[in-house]
């Protein structure tokens, strides 16, 4: 069987990931095998996936193949089209950076008690699972790969299982991953029963009644939304992502959530068929709630990795805002703004993978050199770790959607598509979409506040604890891994036309309509629709910013006084500020916490301390627990109490139940 080069590259990537997993089995005896063999293989797998995915995206044709694996009557089919290629490229690029970063980071675990076999083995399986999900062309292989992905990431979350909180987080993750997986399975079940079999081709060919299509959509939205961490199904995400090792957190937040986005796009835009505008309203609403809630929750956090995890909820919300807009526009027959919103969502998926990967790797670098995750203990890290500090700043600027970095481009595209809301016939939609864009604007501004807090508290000012004061720069490999992602953040921000041109292949293949040529043909600036109606020239903005800075520096440094004298901080003439007098992360967030207090369970108390002093204690609770989770838990417990009555411990009674069941079953089939 002859396969195309792109597909063989991608399958090679899967094999390499599995080889990395297999190589880790020897880590029990020789721990260095992870650093010297498994991680390089992991890196190579990322490179192969990136190359294969990119070539599929740029060629723009769909390749399918049947693997000589699977069940006899149900062979595993794979396909590589532009959409799969794009998501493979996302998986590949982050895995590549993680592969560079990993060896130095994993070294820290070599002397620890945690099993390196588990770490390396499940990392490889996790990567292979994610790539296979994206490649699968039938629901059977999709679900198998999906479960491999979920289970292997469960073991990675539970990696440091000595800590009870980690075990609890891992269990919650496992539970919710399975509820989500069940919903996806049922969704595919609906499609498969209308189509003929589990192959995606058969599902695509089937025509569903609108009611059943909506049922399938609801199940898919539930399942993929749970994996993507949309509010209110996000509870597992801020628990599970932070407790995994940092390079795995980067993969989980940066990539695994994108695999859920891929699944949603594949299911809704490709397989279900006719789109309905009501779905768009649902997706848009959930996206808005996730974005706003995610960023507010992130702002309240003081644990850096937890903060980043909540920020992932927010970013997935933004992606789903884009998808919701796309659904609204496409289902009402406005293809241009629909495609625009679709591309904005894909662009943001790419951007989020890059900057969230970068930020998690940065958090890992801080953890590596200072063993600290708590923002309140950090400070002044920019001078201890200049490279990590600089690269982390790039990540912060990108995620805060500031020009000329990449986060801004996707936000700009989302706004541009939302601004075409006047095309809707229905007044409800015309007024709903602007409100969504207001939410997006508020989210963007709050993200900036969040990352000013993170960067200002962690990297600026003075160290707030002894071990942070003695933090040292991280090894070269860790810096290089971050540098790759930071460079891509800038690159994706400066060449938006090139990226949009490449992404355009996806809607052309999937939705059979793309953006007009004019959008991407002008390399200098993104122009939408008529000339000059909306434009953003990212390269020029970047160059002009640099030029103005250079010119001002040049002019001012020719003047008579060039010298800079160091002195004590002035601080309005008060006593020289000490490190405990700085604004803390909690203090920074206090004004916004007060404004949005009713969205959280804020409990402030002054409690007496043992030494006679007093301590200010603040706990911020997540309201969704009380609203969504505890009632379900109570209901399950109540149901179990009823069921428990069946179990008396008496063998005769159990035999009676068995007999009864048999009789009922016989009656049903007769």
């Amino acid at each position: 069987m002859i396969m195309s080069a792109a597909l063989s590259l991608v399958l090679l990537a899967v094999v390499l990931a599995l080889a990395s997993s297999a190589a880790s089995l020897f880590a029990a005896r020789t721990p260095t095998v992870i650093r010297l063999l498994a991680m390089p293989l992991f890196c190579l797998a990322g490179m192969a996936a990136l190359a294969g995915g990119l070539s599929a995206l740029l060629n723009g044709d769909a390749i399918t193949a049947t693997l000589p694996l699977g069940l006899p009557w149900l062979p595993w089919r794979v396909q590589l089209d532009a959409l799969s290629g794009f998501f493979l490229a996302i998986i590949g690029v982050v895995s590549f950076a993680v592969g560079i970063y990993g060896p130095a980071y994993v070294r820290g675990f070599e002397k620890g008690r945690d099993s390196l076999v588990a770490l390396g083995g499940f990392s490889g399986l996790f990567l292979a699972g994610m790539m296979t999900v994206v490649l699968a062309a039938d629901a059977f292989l999709f679900m198998v790969a999906w479960e491999v992905m979920s289970l292997s990431s469960y073991f990675l979350v539970a990696f440091q299982h000595d800590n009870a909180a980690n075990r609890r987080a891992a269990f919650l993750y496992l539970l919710m991953a399975h509820v989500g997986g069940l919903a996806i399975l049922l969704g595919y079940g609906v499609l498969a029963s209308f189509g003929d079999g589990f192959a995606f081709d058969a599902m695509r060919a089937a025509t569903l009644s609108p009611a059943w299509a909506s049922v399938a959509f609801a199940l898919a939205f539930l399942g993929f939304g749970m994996k993507a961490g949309l509010v209110p199904l996000h509870a597992w995400l801020p628990e599970a992502h932070p407790v995994a090792p940092s390079h795995i957190s980067a993969l989980m937040s940066g990539v695994m959530l994108k695999v859920a986005v891929y699944g949603f796009i594949r299911f809704v835009f490709d397989l279900v068929g006719e789109l309905q505008w009501q779905w768009g309203v649902a997706v848009l609403a959930i996206g808005c709630i996730s974005a706003l809630f995610g960023v507010l929750a992130a702002l309240m956090q003081r644990d850096l990795k937890r903060l980043l995890a909540y920020s992932s909820v927010e970013n997935l919300g933004i992606i789903f805002i884009g998808l919701g807009l796309a659904l609204l526009f496409l289902s009402t027959g406005h293809s241009l703004p629909g495609v625009l919103a679709f591309i904005a969502a894909l662009y943001h998926a790419l951007n989020h993978a890059l900057f969230k990967g970068l930020l998690f790797l940065g958090a890992g670098a801080i953890l590596h050199s200072s063993h600290e995750r708590d923002l309140e203990q950090m400070g002044g890290l920019l001078r201890r770790m200049p490279w990590t500090g600089f690269l982390f700043l790039v990540g912060c600027i990108s995620i805060a959607a500031l020009p000329p970095f990449n986060g801004f481009v996707s936000e700009w595209l989302t706004f541009q598509s939302a601004l075409r809301a006047w095309q809707f016939d229905s007044g409800v939609l015309r007024s709903l979409v602007p409100i969504a864009s207001a939410v997006l604007a508020l989210t963007g501004a709050l993200v900036a506040a969040t990352f000013v807090k993170v960067y200002g508290v962690a990297f600026l000012g003075q160290a707030r604890s002894r071990h942070v004061r003695h933090a040292r720069a991280v090894p070269f490999g860790m810096r290089a891994g971050q540098a790759v992602l930071a460079a891509l953040c800038l690159l994706m921000g400066v060449i938006p036309t090139g990226v949009i041109g490449a992404l355009n292949a996806i809607p052309e293949q999937l939705l059979h309509s793309g953006l007009p040529q004019a959008v991407s043909h002008n390399w200098l600036s993104v122009n939408l629709a008529a000339s000059n109606s909306a434009s953003y020239s990212a390269p020029l903005v970047a160059v002009l910013l640099a030029l103005i800075v250079a010119a001002v520096v040049w002019v001012l440094h020719r003047g008579p006084v060039r010298r800079v004298r160091r002195c004590d901080a002035w601080d309005c003439g008060f006593a020289p500020p000490g490190n405990r007098m700085q604004y803390t992360a909690t203090a920074f967030a206090q004004p916004i916490r007060r404004v949005f207090a009713h969205l959280f369970l804020v409990d402030e108390a002054v409690v007496p301390r043992n030494d006679g002093g007093q301590r200010y204690q603040l706990t911020i609770g997540d309201r969704t627990w009380g609203i969504f989770y505890l009632p379900v838990a109570r209901w399950v417990e109540a149901a179990s109490r009823r069921v428990v009555r069946l179990q008396s411990g008496n063998v005769r009674l159990y035999l009676g139940w068995t007999l009864l069941t048999l009789l009922v079953l016989l009656w049903i089939i007769s």
Binding site: G427, S531, A569, D571, P591, V595
Partner: protein, 321 residues
């Protein structure tokens, strides 16, 4: 796009950018002068801000021991981003090549970039005042930015263009109509402009009480040319918002060609509009008192509400009609 081929256009664009930097201190001087007269003082000359800038540029820079390299880079970035943002707002003439550079969303983005570095610089030295200023600035901006975007989106949706030049062209080419959406958007934008440029009633640019300030608290540790750049950027930002209100909502008089007469007319028109706006701001600052910080969210929510009402009244009333 023939106007791009016109050799005068790039020259006019550069000229306009220079004019922004050059005229910004004058507006501040004018506002201070009017305020002083309203308070029965004679007040300093309107040229005083220029003298202050010159003095600061000639002074030695002092940087705290605890400051990081970011502290020294921030003034340049803040100045560059603010100036570039201003350069995209039509001051004298529409149809400048800067229109292709950036639209309203990019303008808001550039201002956000400047604010991001300003807030980081405030936190850098590790003083309590700097952190306090940064925290409050981010609160105000978090609530002001959506209101600002909603206000400009109202214009953008009406003109079917997010380019400022497109919006102004739309205003000029259609006959004057009192659109309710524009009135709401204008109200929202004025409130946002007051908050974003640190004026009363949200912040007091002339305060000497440390605990009440926002913008000045972030600049406390700056001196010499760094302080000059930060102050200058703030002045450009004030001029930018003034021009935005003056030229987008009342575009009459702006030059539509690059002939000397039209440009002269443009200068005269925008100068008159800005003098009026500056005087109105001075009167407002004289009769109003600064609000407590936690009243500011209510003020900004009003701005957001007005802007959102503008947008909704546009999509509901004006599109269908």
């Amino acid at each position: 796009m023939d106007h791009l081929l016109n050799a005068a256009a790039p020259v006019a664009a550069v000229l306009q950018a220079m004019l922004y930097a050059a005229a910004a201190p004058l507006l501040v001087g004018w506002i201070r002068k009017v305020k002083a007269r309203l308070q029965n003082r004679r007040g300093p000359s309107v040229l005083q801000p220029y003298r202050d800038l010159r003095k600061l540029l000639a002074k030695e820079v002092r940087v705290a021991h605890t400051a990081s390299p970011l502290f020294r880079a921030a003034p340049y970035i803040v100045f560059a981003a603010t100036w570039l943002a201003a350069a995209t707002v039509p001051l004298l003439a529409v149809n400048l090549p800067t229109a292709a550079l950036a639209d309203i969303i990019v303008l808001v983005g550039l201002l956000a970039l400047a604010r991001f570095f300003l807030a980081l610089a405030g936190m850098d030295v590790g003083t309590a005042f700097g952190g306090m200023g940064a925290s409050r600035e981010m609160l105000v901006s978090a609530l002001a930015e959506p209101a600002m975007l909603m206000a400009v989106f109202t214009l953008a949706m009406t003109a079917h263009s997010t380019n400022l030049a497109g919006v102004i062209d739309f205003q000029l080419s259609n006959e004057f109509a009192l659109r309710p959406s524009f009135m709401f958007a204008l109200g929202g934008l004025v409130l946002v402009a007051l908050a974003e440029t640190g004026r009363i009633p949200v912040d007091n640019p002339a305060t000497h009480l440390e605990l009440t300030m926002i913008h000045e608290a972030m600049l406390l540790e700056y001196s010499g040319r760094h302080l000059a750049l930060m102050e200058w950027a703030a002045q450009i930002k004030l001029l930018l918002y003034g021009t935005l209100i003056a030229n987008v909502f009342f575009p009459w008089g702006i030059a539509q060609s690059f002939a000397a007469g039209a440009l002269g007319m443009g200068i005269a028109a925008v100068a008159a509009k800005l003098l009026l706006l500056g005087a109105a701001l001075a009167i407002g600052e004289t009769v109003l008192a600064k609000m407590r910080l936690f009243r500011a969210p209510a003020f900004l929510n009003l701005a957001l509400l007005l802007a959102l009402l503008g947008l909704l009244s546009h999509v509901i009333l004006e599109v269908g009609a």
